[in-house]
């Protein structure tokens, strides 16, 4: 057991964990940050993606002790970072995923959003192929990816003030277009902030605090 000095979502924190624990284990089981998902746990699926110094990396393959001295951002940190930067509500990428319904089960979504966030921070105008390549390390088993790519393109269009292209399944109307009343299409998580933005708990994330289920 050692005390690790980690900087997570902008906060310096001390957390005790064995030397052989991964960053994912420390985030989920010491800090309660269950947004980073434990999928394959061996570097294939991308569900555990976090940003380390702004770059998407896999927390399941990162030895937590070696993450000291680096800025770690998890899905839980995007909204606070956006607010700190003067924005309102969730990060625009989260908002776009929510409005596009770029999820079904939501398990891949935190990693997907963080890879997308890193792409848009690095490349202000990626093409569809560049979006696909940047998200190619995040596997999704339900959406078929199309709405995910559209969500990134929606966030991209809104960041540059351009009118977002209508998704292919909506001929004759553009559900992304802004109207005087606001966005034409309500967000999946409109009733509550967490549902469509990747921070809602999945089945395995519930904490029992020592009690039996």
């Amino acid at each position: 057991m050692r005390v690790l000095n980690l900087t997570v979502n902008g906060d310096a924190t001390e957390v005790a964990a064995p030397a052989h624990w991964t960053l994912l284990e420390v985030l989920r089981y010491r800090m309660g940050l269950t947004g980073s998902k434990q999928g394959c746990d061996k570097g294939d699926c991308g569900a555990c993606t976090v940003l380390i110094d702004g770059e998407p990396q896999l927390s399941c393959l990162t030895v937590a002790a070696l993450a000291e001295g680096h800025e770690i951002t998890t899905i839980e940190g995007l909204l606070p970072a956006h607010l700190r930067a003067g924005g309102e509500g969730p990060d625009p990428v989260q908002e776009a995923f929510d409005r596009c319904g770029a999820l079904q089960c939501g398990f891949c979504q935190p990693g997907m959003i963080l890879s997308a966030r890193a792409l848009l921070s690095e490349n202000p105008a990626p093409t569809r192929d560049e979006i696909k390549a940047a998200l190619s390390g995040n596997l999704c088993r339900c959406t078929g990816y199309t709405q995910i790519y559209q969500a990134v393109e929606l966030a991209l269009a809104e960041a540059t003030g351009a009118e977002p292209a209508s998704p292919s399944w909506a001929p004759g109307e553009n559900p992304w277009a802004k109207t005087p009343e606001g966005n034409a299409r309500p967000a999946v998580g409109a009733a509550g902030l967490t549902e469509g933005t990747g921070v809602a708990p999945s089945g395995g994330d519930s904490r029992t605090n020592g009690k039996a289920h």
């Binding site: 570097g43 998407p56 399941c60 070696l66």
Partner: protein, 345 residues
């Protein structure tokens, strides 16, 4: 959920400190760079070091430099992403940059390093599995057992070299700089041609010891009319290790004819293999001129005759063999055209 075995971790700041730890702990220590292969392997119970020595904090192992004679010097802990997107590397060693850019997926390339890829453990579908999975088959030659599940009755491990950058570095005549502590405790360095690093033993396919630290990869300046490309076959367009990798180097003369060529393939057997006859088939011919298509076909045919994929890594081995001439042809054409990588997506 896959747990790591217990270990302690050290992050030395200098080569000397790292070598001191290796000398002190001996076989109980293992070097780790990005950890993208070692960590899953430890989770699978394939390695159980007492001390993991991370090289990520050693400044000397970082970055790309160009010497006066045009030699590219790449620090061993430079990430694959950094070399794949480095304009000088892409211009001077296109095949190597392309290979680095096709290793695994985006997150893994930001963690994985050039040195880690050069020193990658061999892979086999009977080896890269959990302890429970391997135990149920009575283990295998490479780890914990005495049977080979690939070659019936086999007594020598045939796990496959699966590092994308290795064949490109061989085709470029790259050299590797290693450091170790001698018996007097002094740090000594040696330079080894990448050709001489690998051996045909899947159990451990490198001719270096565990106390040697890879410092840098040195790629000599290419010929004035250097052409290079890398072709990679895999199931998906991302994440996967190669089912076949082909590196091509072509040097053209002033008249545009092939003065020299080198082809090296990976993901077939324990070491990358040089396709000598395939390269020879190209020499003397001129791209785009009569006879060139026949020369490319002859190179592909020669490669087909030399490459015999085994059921050591995933993917039907007959299919992988049929893809050998396809990838040789396409990668030669991409190199000549100044394009690449050759990839199915």
């Amino acid at each position: 959920m896959l747990r790591l075995p217990k270990f302690e971790v050290a992050a030395p700041q200098t080569v000397d400190e790292a070598l001191a730890l290796l000398a002190e702990y001996g076989a109980d220590a293992m070097l780790m760079a990005g950890g993208t292969d070692l960590v899953p392997n430890m989770k699978h119970g394939l390695f159980e070091p007492k001390l993991v020595v991370s090289v990520s904090a050693i400044d000397e192992l970082q970055g790309v430099a160009i010497e006066d004679d045009g030699t590219l010097v790449i620090g061993a802990a430079t990430t694959l992403q950094a070399v794949a997107t480095n304009d000088e590397v892409r211009r001077r060693a296109p095949a190597f940059a392309q290979a680095a850019g096709l290793v695994a997926g985006p997150q893994l390339r930001r963690m994985g390093t050039v040195g880690g890829n050069v020193m990658l453990d061999t892979r086999c579908q009977w080896y890269n599995q959990t302890h429970f999975w391997r135990k149920s088959l009575g283990f295998c030659l490479k780890k914990d057992g005495s049977l080979c599940h690939v070659v019936e009755g086999g007594s020598k491990c045939v796990a496959a070299a699966s590092n994308d950058t290795a064949p490109t570095l061989m085709s470029l005549g790259a050299k590797l700089v290693f450091a170790r502590r001698n018996s007097e405790g002094q740090v000594v360095r040696k330079t080894l041609a990448v050709d001489d690093l690998y051996k045909s033993d899947g159990a451990f396919n490198k001719k270096v010891a565990g106390d040697e630290l890879l410092i840098a990869v040195r790629i000599p300046a290419g010929a004035p009319q250097h052409r290079g490309a890398y072709g990679k076959l895999r199931d998906r367009g991302s994440i996967d290790f190669p089912l076949l990798g082909v590196a091509v180097r072509i040097d053209l003369d002033d008249a545009g004819a092939v003065a020299d060529a080198d082809l090296v393939a990976v993901a077939l057997q324990a070491r990358p293999i040089r396709l000598k006859k395939a390269a020879e088939a190209l020499v003397g011919n001129t791209p785009g001129k009569p006879g060139w298509d026949e020369a490319v076909d002859a190179a592909a045919e020669a490669a087909y005759g030399q490459c015999h994929p085994m059921p050591n890594i995933p993917g039907d081995h007959d299919y992988r063999r049929e893809m050998v001439p396809v990838y040789v042809r396409r990668t030669i054409r991409a190199a000549v055209a100044g394009e690449g990588p050759v990839h199915h997506v």
